[in-house]
C-alpha cells in the first residue's frame, strides 16, 4: 500500500497561546514495500509525521494519501478504522499500552477490534508471538509479570497480529540493551522481507538507518531537509555533521582512513563487509601496480 504526504503542515493547539507549528510543508512518498527511515533530533517533528501515517493526526494543511484513502485538511474525515487496520504503529515504549489480564487477550485485542473472529485472532496471536521470538507458554501469563523486554515483544506482537500492510516504528529499541536492540531490529527487517511490509522507522540511530533502510528522510525543525537512498545521504557526510547529526561508524572510519592513509575509495560504504572488501581490493591493487 502506497502512502504519500503532500505539503503537510501540522499545528499543535491551534488558536491557543501554546500554538506551535510542528511540521511544515512535508512531502514524502512511501511506495509499497519501502523501508523508510525518518531521522531527526528530538523536536524535529518526526513523531508528528508518524502520527499522520494512520490518521491519528489530521493535517492542518495539505493531504495525506493512505492507499486509496485521501485525508485532507479542513474536512471531516470519518470512519478511519479501515486505514488504521492497514497501518500498524508501534509507539515508543509500546509496553505501556498493555492492559489485559493475559498476554493472549492483549494480543488479540487489536485484531478483534477490527472485526477478526476470536479463533482467527488466536491463531494470529500464536504466529505473531513466534515472530517476535517468544514461546507459547507465556500466552496465559499476565503481561505485567513479564520482563521489560518481553513486554515490549508482546506489545509488538499485538500490532503484528492486526496483520497490517504497513508498519510504523517509533524508536522501537529505545531503552533496550544492545543485544535486544539488534534482535528487535533484525526481526523487523526479516518481517519486512518476508511479509513484503512497508516499514517506516523513526529513529535517531544513523547505524540502524544505514543498515536497514532503502530510503532516508532527514528532518530538522519540522521540515524535510534531505531525502534519498542511504548511499546518497551518506555520500555527503559533511552536510550531516553540519546539521549536528551522526554519521554511521563505518562511514566515519572510512573518512578517517582516507584522510590518514591518503587513499580514496570510489564511494561511501555502509557496511563493514563492503568497506573491508573495498579496502582489501585497494591494497591488492596497490601491491600489484
Amino acid at each position: 500500500m502506497d502512502i504519500s504526504l503532500s505539503h503537510v503542515d501540522y499545528r499543535y493547539q491551534a488558536n491557543t497561546p501554546f500554538e506551535r507549528l510542528a511540521i511544515q510543508d512535508v512531502s514524502i512518498e512511501i511506495p509499497s514495500g519501502t523501508y523508510l527511515a525518518i531521522i531527526g533530533h528530538t523536536g524535529s517533528g518526526k513523531s508528528t509525521v508518524l502520527q499522520h501515517l494512520n490518521a491519528l493526526l489530521i493535517p492542518s494543511e495539505g493531504t495525506v494519501t493512505i492507499g486509496d484513502r485521501e485525508i485532507k485538511a479542513h474536512q471531516k474525515n470519518k470512519d478511519l478504522r479501515p486505514v488504521r487496520q492497514r497501518v500498524g504503529i508501534v509507539f515508543q515504549f509500546p509496553e505501556h499500552q498493555l492492559f489485559e489480564e493475559t498476554v493472549e487477550k492483549d494480543i488479540i485485542f487489536g485484531p478483534m477490534n477490527f472485526g477478526v473472529s476470536e479463533a482467527e485472532a488466536k491463531k494470529r496471536a500464536r504466529i505473531a508471538l513466534k515472530q517476535v521470538g517468544l514461546t507459547e507458554e507465556i500466552l496465559d501469563k499476565s503481561p505485567f509479570d513479564l520482563s521489560g523486554g518481553q513486554m515490549r515483544r508482546v506489545a509488538i506482537a499485538g500490532v503484528l497480529a492486526m496483520d497490517p500492510d504497513v508498519i510504523v516504528l517509533d524508536e522501537p529499541t529505545a531503552g533496550l540493551d544492545p543485544r535486544g536492540r539488534k534482535e528487535i531490529m533484525d526481526m523487523f527487517y526479516a518481517l519486512h522481507n518476508e511479509r513484503k511490509l512497508s516499514t517506516i522507522l523513526v529513529t535517531h540511530s544513523m547505524e540502524d538507518a544505514a543498515r536497514y533502510a532503502d530510503q532516508i528522510v532527514i528532518m530538522q525543525q519540522g521540515k524535510v531537509v534531505k531525502k534519498g537512498s542511504p548511499e546518497e545521504i551518506f555520500s555527503a557526510p559533511q552536510d550531516l555533521m553540519q546539521m549536528g547529526l551522526d554519521v554511521p561508524e563505518v562511514v566515519r572510519f572510512q573518512l578517517k582512513l582516507e584522510e590518514k592513509g591518503n587513499i580514496k575509495l570510489e564511494k561511501i560504504f555502509l557496511s563493514i563487509e563492503q568497506l573491508s572488501a573495498a579496502v582489501a581490493e585497494q591494497l591488492r591493487r596497490g601491491v600489484t601496480s
Binding site: Q51, L56, H96, N113
Partner: protein, 265 residues
Amino acid sequence: MMEKMIFGRYVPADSMIHKMDPRSKLTIIFLFVCIIFIANNWLTYTIIGVYTFLMIGLSRIPIRFLYGGLKPVLWLVAFTFLLQLFFTREGTVVVDWGFVKIYAEGIKMGFYISFRFFFLILMTSLLTLTTTPIEITDGLESLLNPLKKLRFPVHEMALMMSISLRFIPTLMQETDKIMKAQIARGVEFASGPLMERIKAIIPLLIPLFVSSFKRAEELAIAMEARGYRGGEGRTKYRQLSWKTVDTLQLAFLAVVTIMLIYFRS
C-alpha cells in the same frame, strides 16, 4: 484531544495578575467565593460580572483561549440553568404546556445560579492560569501555617498538592499517548454506542494506573535519595513578597463587597 483543557494549566505572561503574590490571589479567590453569595439581583450580578471580566482583562489571557478551554464546562452551566428552570416552583406561571410549567422565579433563579457558577469557574480558572502550581502551593502553605500549632500537617498537604498539580500535564500527555496507541489498535473513543465507549475506557485506564503507581514509587525513591525529610527546618528558594498591588487588589475587592451589600435587595 486533551490539548484544549485549561484546568490547572499555567499560561505565562507579563501581567499585573501574574505578578501578584499568590497569598493575595488565594485570599481574593476565597473571599470571592463567599461574596458571590451576597449578590441577589441583576445589579449585584452585573457588579460581579464586571469585576470578573476586569480581572480577566488585567491578566491578559486571550478571551478566545479561555472560551475554548471552558466550552465543556459551559454545558454544565447550561444544565444548571435548565435544572433551575424546570424545578423551581415559585412565582407566576409563564409557560404552561400541561406537563411542564415554567415559573417566573425559575427563569430568574436559572439565570442567577448559572451565572454564579460561571463566574466562579472563570475566577478559579484565572487563578491557575496566572499562578504556577508551585506558587499556589507556597502561598497555601504560608497561609495555612498558623494551623501547624494545631498539629495540622501543613507542609505535607502542600507537598501532596504540588505533586498532584505537577503531574497533571504529565498525566495528560500520557493519556494522550496511550489513547493514540489504543486508537491505532482499533479502539473508538469518540464514536460508537455508549456501552462500547464505556468499555473503551478500560484499555486507557489500566495502563494509566500502572504507570502512575510506577511513577509514584520512582518519585518516592528519588526524594528519599536526595535526603527529603519533610518540612522541619526546610528553607525556601522562592520567597513570597507582598507588594502594593496586592494591598490594592484586596482593597478593591473590599469596595466591591461594600457595593454588593449596598445594592443587594
